[in-house]
């Protein structure tokens, strides 16, 4: 696996990450389509995921929980917008009950196969900063405090948006 491109859109709150896998698209698709394989990569270290429901059809739901080091369970869900094996998957994602008043956080996955490899593009569009913090399991108010040094990074990337 090689990450070949990343784009962080700070204003539009979107992350695009493009990677290459040395496997055919049908095989790469399985890591999304097989709940047992999905469980092995979704949760960060120390937070293994358990997939409860896994209905990868249009309008279907995937529900899961991650178990933290102290045994706490973090519940999350996807609502499938569209699915077209083995090349595309689009879903809304969140944790806790869906908030119908806000636009949802969405993820788009695209697989493109070439004779040598499969390229996977994942675009996540976040509903809000609060939603991003929730998805990261940071809890309310535990955000990141701005350090003065960050202004250099901001200015350095201003041209990127």
């Amino acid at each position: 696996m090689t990450v070949i491109a990343v784009d962080r859109d700070r204003v539009g709150l979107a992350l695009t990450i493009v990677s290459e896998f040395d496997a055919p698209a049908e095989r790469v698709w399985q890591v999304w389509a097989d709940p047992r394989q999905l469980e092995r990569w979704w949760g960060p270290p120390g937070y293994p995921a358990t997939v409860v429901d896994h209905d990868l059809t249009n309008g279907g739901r995937v529900t899961y929980y991650m178990t933290g080091p102290d045994g706490e369970k973090l519940h999350g869900w996807w609502r499938i917008i569209s699915v077209s094996p083995p090349s595309s998957l689009e879903f809304e994602e969140g944790c806790g009950p869906p908030n119908e008043d806000l636009p949802p956080t969405t993820a788009q996955v695209r697989l493109v196969e070439t004779p040598e490899m499969t390229t996977m593009t994942i675009i996540t569009r976040f509903a809000s900063i609060a939603e991003m913090e929730q998805l990261l399991g940071m809890g309310k108010g535990e955000g990141t405090k701005l350090a003065l040094g960050q202004i250099d990074a901001i200015l350095a990337t201003t041209t990127g948006s």
Binding site: M1, V3, V6, R8, D9, R10, V11, L13, L15, I17, S19, F21, D22, A23, R27, V28, V31, D34, R36, Q37, R40, W41, W42, P44, P45, M120, I122, T124, F126, I129, M132, E133, L135, L136, G143, T144, L146, L148, Q150, I151, A153, I154, L155, T157, T158, T159, S161
Partner: protein
């Protein structure tokens, strides 16, 4: 390479750099980033008139770095940058999360498929 996006983005970047080219304005921005403060309060910190401080604040405001709000007779300087910086650091967190996920996907794909079909 100069890209003209036709949306004023380059003009805004010019204004940001111009605003930050001045030591007093950088100091005002640094203080504003640490908490809300008033124009009259700022004027007491620098050897210059309130009018001169107001001009500096206006340059920062024109670059979209701060905005002014009125509370009673006070004009308060608040920073815009914390929102963008927060988005930036959260996106970096998600990038880290996804890089980890992709690494683990690669590990799963490197294994021979099990025959049990689960």
């Amino acid at each position: 390479m100069v890209v003209d996006r036709g949306d004023g983005a380059d003009e805004l970047i010019d204004r940001v750099f111009r605003a930050l080219a001045d030591r007093t304005r950088r100091d005002v921005l640094r203080r504003a980033m640490n908490g809300t403060l008033s124009v009259s309060g700022l004027a007491r910190l620098y050897p210059m008139s309130t009018t001169a401080v107001q001009k500096h604040v206006a340059v920062l405001e024109g670059a979209g770095l701060v905005h002014l709000t009125r509370r009673g007779r006070q004009q308060l300087v608040q920073t815009e940058i914390d929102t963008i910086a927060k988005a930036q650091s959260l996106l970096a967190e998600f990038e880290r999360l996804w890089r980890g996920r992709l690494e683990r996907m690669g590990d799963v794909l490197a294994e021979p498929l099990r025959g049990d079909g689960s």
